[in-house]
């Protein structure tokens, strides 16, 4: 595996701990090796020491085992250099040849681009020009989001990658799809007989998908102010989650079969006109506030952020799917930074019974709700009304809960463990395909066009709150309220 950007945050925090855990679980082949590539001048041993520290710092639920590490780290190598330097690829090529001889890797290579998106095309071209895209074994390319910054740039990037790798060898990673609960949505919907019959407009009133972060931009201010919540979260993660929740059953659990259905769903989302954007979307930006007993700055006061930045740190959208199953059912997606807690959840709100025969206040007789918790506490809850013990027919909402953490005696693999292993074995089910990326941009681009207009200003919200009041009003117009996760 060749990791470009090997001294970066993603590798230290996610990739290396995931690879170490796979080694710990003996899921990696004996000769598995990593070639780290980055600009810093490091020796193999320097790189190993850094990665050892990263594994110790960022492996959340895996004990550090010196024996496992020693064995794993013997396969770590480092090649310094600039992605723009053609000589770098020759050196990587030579290193791969050396490793193939020494460690019997069989010639299979997974290239992982963990560099700035502007270097993707250059890196891919370098791999192609040096002849590394073809070899004895398979050659695959993993690309991190963002896949372009709009539809045109996404197409352009794809065209550049396709000059070196065919589509079936490009793995666009969306780590949300690697999460156990997101995968479990498929098991829940298509492995059980009782949910699918009610999974449609006749029974479902609306769906809410919330991905809240309690942190601010944490030193990524200059990057984030160019991106915003809509492009950073909704264009990829949340639309993929929505596609998983709303897609038609696939004929089989083959990668392309599942991805065809996801893609079809994304293409069925109705793109908005400028007038609909005003009605069905809310952009927000956090101001200063107080969280955990400490004052926190507003977005415009964050380091590296332009004090006049109009970036959306909160985005809420109401989307409609133009197909028979979902016609008329709103899908509300919201995401934001500096919200009260870190949580990602899907809530499916069912219709109320057609006739209310029991007494009670309206907010007591709440309709059924199915909640899929993606993080931090992965699980599924079903809320329904039950009679309270005692005299009279008094109803109270109760909840039936399934919790991943306590229901199974084994830990859930991290998203990156799942996805890296899938890429190695050639299973692209949980990876995003080019047509899905384009379909997502077709949904998001009309919104971005309106939001980028000089007359558009994001609505302010206090850090630690659930976003601007306009987001509540957007739902209130259809008689709905955001569920507080």
């Amino acid at each position: 595996m060749v990791i470009f950007g090997a001294t970066g945050d993603l590798n230290r925090r996610k990739l290396m701990p995931a690879l170490y855990r796979l080694a710990y679980d003996r899921r990696l082949p004996a000769g598995f090796s990593v070639v780290g590539v980055s600009r810093s001048q490091l020796s193999d041993d320097d790189f190993r020491n850094r990665m050892c520290q990263a594994v110790k710092d960022f492996s959340e639920d895996t004990a550090f085992d010196a024996d496992v590490w020693n064995s794993f780290s013997r396969g770590l190598f480092y090649v310094p250099g600039d992605v723009a330097d053609p000589g770098l690829y020759q050196r990587i090529c030579a290193k791969l040849g050396e490793i193939e001889q020494k460690r019997q890797t069989g010639g299979n290579v997974l290239f992982y681009l963990s560099v700035q998106p502007s270097y993707y095309a250059r890196a891919a071209a370098g791999i192609g020009e040096s002849g590394m895209a073809r070899g004895n074994g398979w050659r695959r390319l993993v690309v991190e989001k963002p896949f372009g910054h709009d539809l045109a740039s996404a197409r352009e990037l794809s065209a550049e990658l396709h000059q070196v790798f065919p589509e079936n060898e490009i793995y666009r990673i969306d780590h949300y799809l690697g999460k156990e609960t997101v995968q479990n949505i498929l098991a829940f919907r298509f492995g059980n007989g009782i949910f699918e019959p009610v999974w449609n407009r006749r029974y479902v009133n609306h769906v809410q998908i919330t991905a809240a972060e309690s942190i601010g931009v944490e030193g990524r201010g200059s990057y984030y102010q160019e991106t915003g919540a809509l492009a950073d979260m909704i264009q990829n993660h949340l639309l993929q989650v929505m596609a998983t929740i709303a897609m038609e059953p696939s004929a089989s659990f083959q990668a392309d079969s599942v991805r065809d259905e996801r893609s079809k769903l994304l293409r069925s989302i109705r793109p908005m006109t400028p007038g609909q954007v005003v009605e069905n979307t809310v952009a927000g930006q956090y101001g200063p506030g107080r969280i955990g007993g400490k004052e926190v700055p507003g977005f415009r006061q964050e380091q590296g952020v332009d004090p006049r930045a109009r970036t959306d740190t909160f985005a809420a959208v109401a989307l409609f799917v133009d197909n028979w199953r979902w016609a008329g059912v709103p899908f509300y997606l919201r995401t934001g930074k500096r919200l009260p807690k870190q949580v990602t959840e899907i809530s499916v709100h069912f219709h109320s019974p057609p006739l209310r025969i029991f007494d009670g206040e309206a907010d007591e007789l709440t309709p059924n709700l199915l909640i899929v918790r993606i993080q931090p506490e992965e699980g599924i809850s079903l809320r329904f009304l039950s009679k309270r013990p005692g005299r009279g027919m008094k109803l109270r909402p109760v909840s039936m809960d399934f919790n991943y953490g306590s229901s199974f005696g084994e830990r859930s693999p991290s998203a990156y463990e799942t996805l890296l292993l899938d890429a190695m074995i050639g299973d692209a089910t949980l990876y995003t395909r080019q047509d899905m990326v384009e379909a997502s941009w077709q949904v998001v681009e009309p919104i971005e066009t309106v939001w980028r207009d000089d007359r558009h200003e994001p609505a302010p919200y206090e850090a630690g709150s659930w976003g601007p009041a306009q987001a509540d009003e957007m739902l209130a117009r259809r008689g709905h309220v955001w569920r507080q996760p």
């Binding site: 309690s214 969280i291 007993g293 009260p340 909640i371 229901s407």
Partner: protein
């Protein structure tokens, strides 16, 4: 495990706690505990309140109303902090423990604002939130309104406050912004049940309108309970079409401050309820009957209040009547 007052950290600690409770030492699922939660109970402890005594109250309350309990102690520390624990019990005849989670938050005396900010993300979603205010001090804080707005219902005990009339006014003001319950009102349940039974009797059904005088007697300075009783009787009898005179007599030399006696005079009959130590006696037409008064324990009173998760229309009407009451 103690942690800073950061919601994500508290939630992570809770999650770890449940995962560890679900697994035996060896890591395999033990099937040992059932996680129970029907509401969130936020308890705002009184200043200097004995933690052990409060813990005993919650221990008695949880099997009746399993809840996510969040105990807030202001003045308990210089910096806000939180600690998570599980409270477990064994249901009768069952093998499996039932557990509910508890978060204890300590904060400086003026730290209610930070506590409120932290509470909103940690309360159990989709379930009622009951705020139990065990002291009046925190109610004076500027952010108390924010705290009350998080709650589906706020429960106080106005009988703990020194003067009845201002106490009732304060509960009334609070009721304009939230559904409110008052343990002082809950203590009247056996009295109200006995009086109601009189008029459910076929001989007296429909004769409430004949009442011409209500006489409420209390020991010590008139407590909130006496005002609630007078207000409830006034409101109910007015609705029944009675025209009556209301008298309240306080024997300020007379021992513990409590409701002592209630008399209803009609032309043809008299109803007299009186407290005799731990019993409540009723006399009517020369016939008397006596019941044991339930212990006035906070867990029992609170358990009764937790049966009502939103508005209590009878109490809210009585509260309005009590705030209007003019008794010399």
């Amino acid at each position: 495990m103690s942690t800073a007052l950061v919601p994500d950290k508290i939630l992570r600690d809770l999650s770890k706690m449940w995962a560890s409770l679900a697994h035996s030492e060896g890591g395999a699922p033990s099937g040992g505990v059932l996680r129970a939660c029907s509401l969130t109970l936020v308890v705002l402890a009184a200043p200097g309140e004995d933690p052990v005594a409060l813990s005993e109250i919650l221990a008695a309350l949880m099997p009746m109303h399993p809840a996510q309990a969040i105990v807030v102690r202001l003045g308990g520390s210089d910096t806000p902090a939180a600690e998570v624990t599980a409270r477990c019990w064994m249901s009768f005849g069952q093998r499996r423990q039932v557990c509910s989670e508890e978060v204890e938050i300590t904060a400086p005396e003026n730290g209610l604002d930070d506590v409120v900010t932290a509470l909103s993300p940690i309360v159990a979603p989709d379930l009622p939130v009951i705020l139990w205010c065990r002291g009046e001090q925190a109610m004076e804080a500027a952010s108390f309104g924010r705290l009350a707005s998080l709650a589906t219902r706020v429960v106080v005990d106005a009988s703990q406050w020194p003067d009845a009339k201002p106490a009732i006014q304060r509960v009334y003001d609070l009721a304009r912004h939230a559904h409110v319950g008052d343990l002082a009102w809950t203590r009247l349940t056996p009295w109200r049940e006995m009086i109601s039974e009189v008029f459910e009797n076929t001989n007296y059904a429909g004769r409430a309108s004949e009442i011409v005088r209500i006489h409420v007697v209390c020991a010590g300075k008139a407590p909130v309970e006496a005002y609630y009783m007078a207000a409830w009787l006034s409101d109910s009898l007015t609705q029944a079409g009675a025209h009556f005179e209301l008298q309240m007599e306080a024997d300020e030399t007379g021992g513990m401050r409590q409701l002592q006696q209630v008399e209803l005079f009609a032309g043809a009959f008299t109803v007299k309820l009186m407290r005799l130590r731990d019993t409540l006696a009723i006399e009517m037409d020369g016939v008397s009957r006596c019941i044991n008064l339930p212990q006035s324990r906070d867990d029992l009173l609170m358990s009764e209040e937790l049966d009502i998760l939103r508005a209590d229309p009878v109490f809210e009407r009585t509260l309005q009547a009590a705030a209007r009451l003019r008794i010399e």
